[in-house]
Structure formats: structure tokens, C-alpha cells
Subunit: 247 residues, 6 copies
Amino acid sequence: MTARSDGRAVDELRPVSIQPHFTEMPAASVLVRFGRTTVMCTASVDERVPRWMDRPGNTRGWVTGEYSMLPGATSPRFRREVSRGGLSGRTQEIQRLIGRSLRAVTDLEKLGPRTVYLDCDVLQADGGTRTASITGAYVALALACDTLLEEGVIAALPLTDSVAAISCGMLEGRALLDLPYVEDAAADVDLNVVMTGSGRLIEVQGTGEEATFTRAELNALLDLAEKGIGELSTLQQEALPDRLHFK
Amino acid sequence: MTARSDGRAVDELRPVSIQPHFTEMPAASVLVRFGRTTVMCTASVDERVPRWMDRPGNTRGWVTGEYSMLPGATSPRFRREVSRGGLSGRTQEIQRLIGRSLRAVTDLEKLGPRTVYLDCDVLQADGGTRTASITGAYVALALACDTLLEEGVIAALPLTDSVAAISCGMLEGRALLDLPYVEDAAADVDLNVVMTGSGRLIEVQGTGEEATFTRAELNALLDLAEKGIGELSTLQQEALPDRLHFK
Amino acid sequence: MTARSDGRAVDELRPVSIQPHFTEMPAASVLVRFGRTTVMCTASVDERVPRWMDRPGNTRGWVTGEYSMLPGATSPRFRREVSRGGLSGRTQEIQRLIGRSLRAVTDLEKLGPRTVYLDCDVLQADGGTRTASITGAYVALALACDTLLEEGVIAALPLTDSVAAISCGMLEGRALLDLPYVEDAAADVDLNVVMTGSGRLIEVQGTGEEATFTRAELNALLDLAEKGIGELSTLQQEALPDRLHFK
Amino acid sequence: MTARSDGRAVDELRPVSIQPHFTEMPAASVLVRFGRTTVMCTASVDERVPRWMDRPGNTRGWVTGEYSMLPGATSPRFRREVSRGGLSGRTQEIQRLIGRSLRAVTDLEKLGPRTVYLDCDVLQADGGTRTASITGAYVALALACDTLLEEGVIAALPLTDSVAAISCGMLEGRALLDLPYVEDAAADVDLNVVMTGSGRLIEVQGTGEEATFTRAELNALLDLAEKGIGELSTLQQEALPDRLHFK
Amino acid sequence: MTARSDGRAVDELRPVSIQPHFTEMPAASVLVRFGRTTVMCTASVDERVPRWMDRPGNTRGWVTGEYSMLPGATSPRFRREVSRGGLSGRTQEIQRLIGRSLRAVTDLEKLGPRTVYLDCDVLQADGGTRTASITGAYVALALACDTLLEEGVIAALPLTDSVAAISCGMLEGRALLDLPYVEDAAADVDLNVVMTGSGRLIEVQGTGEEATFTRAELNALLDLAEKGIGELSTLQQEALPDRLHFK
Amino acid sequence: MTARSDGRAVDELRPVSIQPHFTEMPAASVLVRFGRTTVMCTASVDERVPRWMDRPGNTRGWVTGEYSMLPGATSPRFRREVSRGGLSGRTQEIQRLIGRSLRAVTDLEKLGPRTVYLDCDVLQADGGTRTASITGAYVALALACDTLLEEGVIAALPLTDSVAAISCGMLEGRALLDLPYVEDAAADVDLNVVMTGSGRLIEVQGTGEEATFTRAELNALLDLAEKGIGELSTLQQEALPDRLHFK
């Protein structure tokens, strides 16, 4: 059996780093790396809610995600979506996924009538950009909430759990964790999993790429994802102050 | 334990009908109903391939899906996406899902250098429009391929299996099959499954709607989906001539 | 003198059917057929008026039309306008025509400050889609008004007359009524007429297609249209309850 | 019976002027005035045909119109359509009308594989901008064809007749010719007629503005239009050299 | 040393004409010509301010510019920007420049909470369209302010100085004033200068066109521009009534 | 006289850092900082030329710039331009400036028929983003050309000089170098200068912000800019290998 492209074990994450306070302007800024994949995740707070929420008596807030690839993130260059006349279906899918994932651990009532934007801008793309985005965005969200709490804008931390995400896939009959681009492009089945720190599922997206798969294969991939997300949760805790840890 | 909104058992499909030859203009036209949800699925053949495929020496074809809601499909009226300046993220996600699902059972080499468009236009929406679309689109695709074969345009049926889809969800702690709108809107967890007639998975999309779920719940939902898709596969066979059945 | 493509007399309509209550979601839903041309006309009521009308003291309502072809309505497939970046000039002309035609028989004061949307979605196109749309949309509008009246939302029926429309044209020197696509494409002159049930004109659009015509020819075509619209008015009455008939 | 707003007889045109050679850049440039309505009509020749015509063996040309209002043409200011995100339905209708009207008198075979653009830019708008545009555009087209002939680009004049257009309408029970804005806004019925110099109809567009009309009223308006177009044809001839006159 | 394309001295303006009251609809309308370059500049007053200014207590106004080329302004024809899907970068740069230039001499407080739109529509383009636009727009602005003053809408003239603009450039080692298209296209360095009637700079835009230049060359060009703008200021005064002159 | 906001001398640059090889995917990647302003400049090579250049026999290349602000670059958050429906005028002006500035030092013939994209993505914005972008983009361009040379794609370095840029402005009567946001927003006059390493001007853009300025003030600002660009050129050399230095 051949080794993986980068020599990792089938259930091994790429080297992951989570660097908080990468820039100073937004409420929180995190640089996250899964191997060469590099995403700048920033959290910005807007003291308004989206139009559809903005009704008299509303007391809830909103958390939303935006995702974008910088042109130099890939080779060949990635053409900006603004030049193509709008967001691709893929980008919109990822944005919706980021938003849903973070909202699943946010108490929107405690957040109060404001919006937290989680902007995930991919500086370098080598597979797993959506899962790195969610993993980094959680850290940015936690730090931004911490600041709101410290400033007295909110009265209690509006988070109920942490959240992280990982991809895995079936390649030549093997279930592999955390696929870089070269493996992702060759995989028959692709599974993205979003999970809380306490091990509950938020999102399971399994896709046969012009292929099909069995329940057994799905289970093998879910096992891998669970292991990887456990490790990511630990790394998120290490990047955050104690007061933001969930037991 | 309270009954479902429409009195069905938890593992019971809504009344399903699949009516081929609904209109005469396209290569194939199917009207599919899952309860009140009504979708017109047409297959149109274009003797060209998409631009990105159109290279010298290309011998493969393409299958793609488009999805749209008619304004009168819902109450209140659904505003046309052309008037909003483009397709919503939701529409694009569904279109991509339809295309991937049908391509998973198509031998693009046997289809040859042409494109089959599967247009799924929702005449009435009451939950499960994407799964009804995939289920009906497969029948339209099979009929269109049959015509191409009959006309001698292609030499062999380019299908490897049938495909159908169903939604299920967790509502008040119960796993339910085939949710109408009223249940879908209240569900905590939503699972869409696309499967072949022979029981292999193509797509699994489980989402916690501001909620989370366990592996056990995921498995219960997958069991329900498997049962429902088995029944849909039988109904698809009944709507198609014998020569288009997979054993 | 050769017969018409489908054997009809020059002043004979295609088989026309008007099927009310085709779907259940909108205020009213009508399936209309002129031969193979099939249009789903729905009326949806919105308890707001357009922005430009929405001034303090406004007591009037609005009636507007939207028109769209489903991709499978034609062969070859009709590319969706949302994918082309906007409505074509032709579609906008037809939408404006539908709105004007229905407003000509509506008492907007009696309708009160609400909007009725008449959505005409062409399921199958074989010539005369705009005239079938107007003819079916009137029936949907009448049914929707009837419901508003029954529910006590309005105090009196806001209609002053019925309205129907038909196309005719000059082909090889003959004036023909109700052209299917094959005749329409070959015609030198094209006339669309919208008329009330009581025989008054609402709209006359005569166009030489890279050709010209005389006053005498215009008059011959208007005579044909008058006859056809008389017959359509009778069919509309048959599809509507007595209380919605104009003597 | 009250006089018209500007004291004209019911069948009298506003003062009309047609000034050829208004600018030097395009193939032909004409400034046309119907009262205060002022339109710059330019003809530009492009030695290509539209994409849909551009097939091997094509020998025909194309004539097309574009129409635009300058912001200062009206008071209050007319907001540019580029700022609104696209052409309004009204603008597209007028553009299509201009193109059809000019093509009706053009021999596209004799024009050869090139496109003549007729740009009608309204410098000042006071009713009748579409009819002034067609009337001026014809003069620009004739002059541009004359130049092509003189330069030897084409072998024969590709025109079969002249074309002019006028509006008329029913206002307080009277049929009036050539409505300025103040009359147009108050009219119950609006008729735009496009006719050749030899008196044949090209386009008849009669519209009840939330009103209806009779065959007798239509005929009265057509009589007025015929008279007005006869006078416009004479003015067009005076603006053109003898060699471009049709007897 | 060869003469200029049109025989002018290096520091000589083209024949300039400034014709006020060109049309009657907008608040003010000016036709300005720099040689063959012809621009219709209109000023329209809107009794609202832009959205971003519209806050409670706001007492200031706004002056903004829009710029557009008519299709017949150039040969070959200039394709409308509305057909290309939006304003080009060049058009937006010019619009911003026009707005800034006019605001530099406007007391927005005295203007009060209203907007003056300066629309510069190029009827014919032969180089220097942006400088002709600014020069003409100032005259339109002054006339519009004069009318507002006369009508008692404002209490004092909200202008602090006049403003005019000219282009110059380095061509074959010579500094030239007021370049027509043929010189502009060949120039190595291009300088646009906007200046007040009293000789103060508002805008200096010097650009090497795939070339570079020295401080000495920049100074020579600025000297030329100063001379030209002095002459334009005199012509502006001649086009305006005495009460609108700045000493 | 009060000190500057950050205590710098009037003619002192902010701390500048230029970090090559920031990411690995594009041909070259540079992270440049002017104080808190942080821009990721990447150079990507596309072996095609723009459409308008792509004619038989073409042997020249193209250099173009794109500029974008990340949402988290500013506080409050900067809304993505793709969500607003297109690039703002400001962004387009900056993109055009970046492209022109880099082309002024590029021998497009030596570059050969390929395009170098210089993407300047602002990670953090605190004034001077366009000048930091140009300064960093030059380093990325030089590194990308070096790689092309090394790989034998091109035969000689296609650069004729280095290029850098700086802003300065008049604030409370003083000429200041390299304005951060707080000074930029308050300045009366703003000057952006692009210059080569050998001291020749490429671009001079001086703007009175609702203010005017004198020739003397312009000269004082140009002197400051010259000093600052001299220092930036030295820093660029330090970031580049010797073989890429111009004496």
C-alpha cells in the first residue's frame, strides 16, 4: 500500500496552526493554517441586524459568514468573482455552511440585536479551505464575543460549545483524513463534517464525485472525522484564553 | 405521541405520482408529485458540450440540472430570481446537487459529446422539492436516453443505475420520512439522501438547523431514507418501460 | 388554395381549454391551452402596493403581469433569462402588455391598496403564448377577485368587463386566425388584439415583419380577431361561475 | 370646444425641422425636432454582422436601433439607465420598434454583410420621442447608405421606400395629431403609426391607457396619422438630395 | 520643427465656443466646443441630498457629475456602457473628477440641502472631453445657481470662484496645449489641470503613458495649462451675465 | 507647532517592511507594510495576453493590476464589492494606476506574449494603500520576472527601472509625508506620486479635497515625495537579490 502524497498516516491531520490577533482592525483576526492552506478569519461586529430580522421588538442577533479566495491563493491564478459578475455556486454554498455552523453554537438571544460577520479570506489554497475557515472562524467568533463581554456590550458569553470542521475522503479504497488538493482532486468520495467540541454533529456532507459509496464507507469516514475534529478542538482551546473553554 | 400533520406513519411516503410525457416539446417531460409538491422535469438534449469540455478529441458528454420555483408555487408568492438579479445560493446548491446526482449514474463516455439539461420547474412547493426534482429528473433522463438510443444517436444506454432522493428529519425527537413544508420548517435536523436503485449512496446532506445531532440520530435517519428510496425506485420502474429497468 | 398546417379554416381557433384550480397555493391558478400552447396562469395577492404608489392617502390597487418561458417549453431548449443576465426586450414587452390589458378592465379603486400579480408561465410554446396568457390571466384574476370578495377583503367586484386576446396574421395573402408557431414564423404581418367581452379594443399591435401592409389588410385582420375573441369570451364564461359573468 | 395646449388644429403637426450633418464623426448625423422634442440620430456602419447572422456564406446585412434619453432631456432629471442596472422595458420596446421600422424599407441583401447602427439620443423630450427618432433615423440611414454607395462599398441603394412615424391620441373625445407631453399624459388612447412614404403601414400600436376604444376611433386616429406621415415624408425629402427620393 | 496637426502654435487653444441655454428642460443647459469636441452640459437640481448625507440636521448640499459618450461621438462607433454591463473605469474616473472640481468652488452650506447634477454628454469626441466637460459644467452650474437665487430658493450665490480645465502633453519633446485626439494618442506624457479663475490649482493629473518625465517637463506643462485656463476663464465670463463674474 | 499623530517628523516615512515569499502558490508573493497598512502583493503569470492584444503576429506582453480590500481591513467592516454589484470608481482608479505604474518600467516586448497579474489585496488599511500596493507590486513583479528568466521562459529581464510610490498632503498648512488614515481624512490637499528608482516621474495626482492649492505648495509636496520614494527604492533593493538591482 502506497504512502500518502505527504507521507502522513491515513488518520493524521496536516500541521495545523491557529494564530490569533493577526491584524488589529477588526474585532478579532485569526490566521489559520492546515498545511499550506492559509485562511485569514476576521470577526467584525455590526450593531445592526439583517433587514429581514429588523422588526420592532426583535432582541436576537445574527452570525453570518463570507468566504473568498484571493487571486494569488492558487496556481494558476484564481479569477476574482467580482470580475465574473457574482459569486459562484461553490462560494455561496461555503458561505452558507460557515454561517450555519457558527450559528449552531451561538445563543442568538444572548448575542443581542447585532451581527457578527465572519470573513474567511483564503490567502493560500491547498484543499480543505472550507473546513479551515470554519475552524478559524470559531476562534475569531469566540475572541470577538469575549471583547463584547469585556466591554459590557453583552452580559454573558453567547456561545454554547466550540465548533471545528474537517474533510476526509475515499481514495483508492482507503479512507483518508484532511485531504490536500492533490488527494481531494483524485478522491471518489468526499465528506465534510462539522462537529462541536463536545462531539455532536452539526453538518455532514458526503458526496460521490461521479461515484457512489456504501453505509460502511460513510461510517469509516465519520470515524476519521470525529478523531480529527477532536484534535482540532484541542488546538482551538490552546489558541484561546481559559475563560473561553468549554469543558 | 401525536400523529403527523397529515396522519402518516413516521416511515411513510406522501402519495407519489410520476407522469411521463406531460408535454411534447422537449426530449422527455415528466410531472412528478410528492403530495402537493409538484415538479415538471424536462430533459432537453443539446448536441454541444459545455465550453470547458469542448477540446479537440473530447468524446464525453455532460448532464446538468437547473431548478426554479414558479412564482405561484408558494403562498405568499415567490419572487422570480431574475427580478432579484441572480440565482440565490439555495437555488445554486440545488442545481449542483441535481447535476451531480444524475451524473453519478451516467456513463458520460457512452452519452457522447452532447449535453442533457434536466430542468426541474416547481409548479407547487410543499417541502421536498429538491428530492422530488431528482426523482423525476431521473425518469426524464432515462426516457431521453431511450429516445437517443432508438434514434441511433447513441449506441448503448449510458445509464449504470437508477437514482432517487428523499428528505427526512428529526422533529420533536422523532425521525420522520418525507417532510412536507410544515414539518420541514419545524425540524431540528434535516437530512437529504440521494441513492441508487441498487442501494448505494450518492449524496448525504445532514444539517442541524441551529441545532446539533448524534451519530445514532444520523443512522436512524439514514435507515428511513433507505426505505423511502427503495419505494421510490419501484415507482420509477413502473413509470418506465421494461427495457429501462435495472435488475 | 392550400389548407392550413393543421387543417383549420382561416377563421377557426385551435382547440382551447381553460382549466381553473390547477394548483392550490396561489389565490387562483388556471391552466390554459390554445392547441399545444400551454400556460399556467396564477394570480397572487400581495397586501402592499408598488413603491411608487405607496403614498399617504393612497386607496388604489395595482394589477401587474409577469411572463416566462420554461426551458422545456420549446425545442431546442429555451435558455433561462436569469442565466442571460436579465429579461429580454420581448419578455418585457409581453409583461407590460399583460399588465395593461388586465388593468383596462379593473377598477383599481375598488381593488383597494393591494397588488394582484398575474404570473404567466409557459409550459409549452407553439405560437400565441402572449394571447393565451392574457386570456388565462383574466380567468385567474376574476377568480382571485371572487375570493377576495367572499373573504370580505373587498366590498365589490373590481372588474368592469372581461378581457381576452388573440393573434392573427397575413400569410401568403390570406388573413389567418390564431397562428401556431409554424404559421407565425412564416407570416408577413402579425396582429395581436386585446379586446373586452363587450367588444371594445384595449390593444392593437400590428407589425410588418420586414414587410408592409395596407389599411384593408389591417381591417381584415381586425375582423378575424373580433370573431375569435368573441368565442374566447364565451369559453372564459364557461370556466367561471355565473356570478362572475358580464352580460 | 377648447383649443389644444399650443393652439394647433387637431390635425396639425408641431413645427418640424430635420437638420442633416449635425456632427462629423459618424457616417451620418441628423438633428430632428418635433416642437421641443429634439433627437440626435446618428448612423454608424460596422463592417461586421451580429453574431447570430455570422455564418459561412451569409451575404445579408443588418439594421438596428438604439434609443436613449439624456438626463437633462426632462425635468425632473431622467436618471441614466446604466445607473439603474439596465435598460427599462420601455427603452427596449422603442429600440426594437426603431430597428423593425427601418428594416422594413431596407434590402438587407443589397446592404451586404455589415451593420448600420441607428442611435437615437434624445436631447430634449416633450412627447413623441419614438416617432421623431424613427423619422430622423430614416434620414440618417439614407445618408449613410448614400455614402456607402459613393465610396463603392455597396453597388446599389439598399432602400425600397422612405419611412416616417407619428403619434396621435384620443383626448376628451377628440382625435389629435402629434401629442406633446402634456397631451400625451392626459390621453385615453395612444396610437403610434409607422408608415412608408408610399403610404403602406409598417407598424400600428394602439393602446388604451386604463381605457378602451372602438373600431371607429381607431379609424379616425389612423386617418390623422396618414395625413401627418404624408407631411413628414415631404420634409424628409427636402432634407435629402434628389437622388435619395422615392417617387 | 514640424507644425501641429492643425497648424496651431504650441500654446494655442483650439477654437472654443460656450453656448448657454442650448435646451430648455433642465435648470441650465450649455453646449461647449473645444474644436470638434462637443459636449452638452446640463445642470439639474434635485431637492434631495444623497442618501449618505441625508441625516437629521443636515443643512449642506451636494454637487455631482455624470459623464457619457454618445455612440455617434466617435468613429468607429462607441458602444454604450449600459450594453457592456456598467461604467468603465475611465468613465468613473472622469465623473469623480468633474464632481470634485465643481465642489472645490461651491459653498455646499450656502447651496443648502439639495443636489445639483452636472451631466456632461459628449456629442462629438476629439480629445479633451473631460476638460471641455468641466469648463462647460461650470457655466451650467453658475446659471443654475443664478436661477435658484432669482427664484429665492437660496439666499446667496453658493460659488466662491470659477473653474476651468485643460489638457496638455509632451509630444516628440515639445510641450503642447489642448491636444486633439490625434496628438493625445501619440503623446508620451499627458497632463490634465483643473484651476480656478483666480489661478489656484484644484487638480493636477500627470501620467506617463508607458513613459516617464522630469520635474522640468512637469513645470513646462503646468505653465502652458495656466495660460490656457486663463483664456478659458475669460470665455466663461463672456458667456455669463456680469452678476456671475468673480473679479 | 503640534507633532504628527504618531510623533513622526513631517518628512519621515512610517516603518516600512517588505517581506518576499510570503506564500508559495503564485509566481511571487510579497507582504508589504507601511505602518499598520498591510498589503499582500502577488504576481501570477498567465501564458496568454488580453483579448484586445491577441492578434496574429503579436509579440508583446501585458502587465495589469488588481486591487481589493478585505472586509476585515477596516473598522467598521468594509463591505465586499462583489456584494455591491461591482467595483467602485475608487477601486477602478487604483487598479488602473497600479497597472500603468508597473508598465512604465516594463519592456513589454521583452516580456513576450504573456500577462503578469499583480494582485494587491489589502489585509489591513490605515492610509496609503495604493502607494504601498505599487511599492510591493514592483518587488513581486521583479521576483516573477526573475523566475521566468531562470526558467528560460524569457531571455532577458524585461524591466528598465524600479518603481515606488508615496502619498503626501497639506494638513493645517504643513506638507506631510506618508499620511496614515487619520491625517489623510483631515488633509486639504492630497498628492500621490509614482516615481522610478532613478528619480523620473510616472504619475503625479494632486487633488484639492473641497480646497485649492498653489504651485508653491505643489512643489513642496513633490520635494517630500521625492525624498520618500528615494528611501523606498533602497528598501526595495534590500528585499531583492543583487541581480535585480538597477544602479
